[in-house]
Symmetry: C2
Subunit: 178 residues, 2 copies
Amino acid sequence: MAQRYEVRLSGAGGQGLVLGGVILAEAVALFEGINAVQTQSYGPEARGGASKSEVIISDGDIDYPKATEIDLLLCLTQEACDKYYHDLKQGGILLADSRMVTKLPEGDYKVYHLPIIDTAKERVGKVFVANIVALGAIAALVDAVSLESVEKAVLSRVPKGTEDLNKRALKLGYELVG
Amino acid sequence: MAQRYEVRLSGAGGQGLVLGGVILAEAVALFEGINAVQTQSYGPEARGGASKSEVIISDGDIDYPKATEIDLLLCLTQEACDKYYHDLKQGGILLADSRMVTKLPEGDYKVYHLPIIDTAKERVGKVFVANIVALGAIAALVDAVSLESVEKAVLSRVPKGTEDLNKRALKLGYELVG
């Protein structure tokens, strides 16, 4: 049976989660040769403050592209964490920003509570690369994708002139996982 | 029963179809208040030359976010047209670039064979806004979304400094439909 791995990136609008999802899907599909589907759902809830983007990774066909049992949930805001942690499966990975998410949910999760936004702001000097810092951490946590593949996908998607900034953000995110 | 409308944007990698899909979904969901899901599927075929991005629009819940009976198919290359026209429903809209798509499929389609890429290149002066020209034509063809909503969504997604260029591309695309 095909292996399926579900990732949801969540936070607020403007945090670059759509681009983050596109980059993760392209890293997996174009540079690892594994199937991926990337989705944004905009329903009534999208018109509130929380934003999400999903990537389904599978070595088989992906007939149902919505996340149903999430393996890795990124939360860059408390609101997103409160709203979405229920869909994280038991034993799944919760990757939460340590400044923005102060109340972690209880449950049988592998929690990585990391300074994603602070790393972007203070060590790269640009808060808008928080999505790329998060992708670095995800590259360290997800077996299906290597840091090299994510870096190639990042460089093919970010604006010219920001390559070094983004490479640094990615590397620092990877190192946060340790 | 909920009304569902399926759009597929197809062409080659690098033509901005992912961004086009994101903008269309955000125009519908954020500025028209209708539900939308936007999807990219990367399978073995994505590693060839054709690229696609889908948007499902519905006034109800969208339980199945893949396009199955397409109402509007955009084709910016012949390869994409040959590959994807089968999924366009009878009576659906085929919006094809008049320079790149020279062999139109036979079938009961409403065909708009328009100079999308030439408009971007010659009248805006930037071939990379072809995706935005196409969105202008789509705004003219799809009842669920107005030109104003697409313009707001475009302006929230394109790089600073390119707003006027993109507004012009969008307007010219809208006018192509006549």
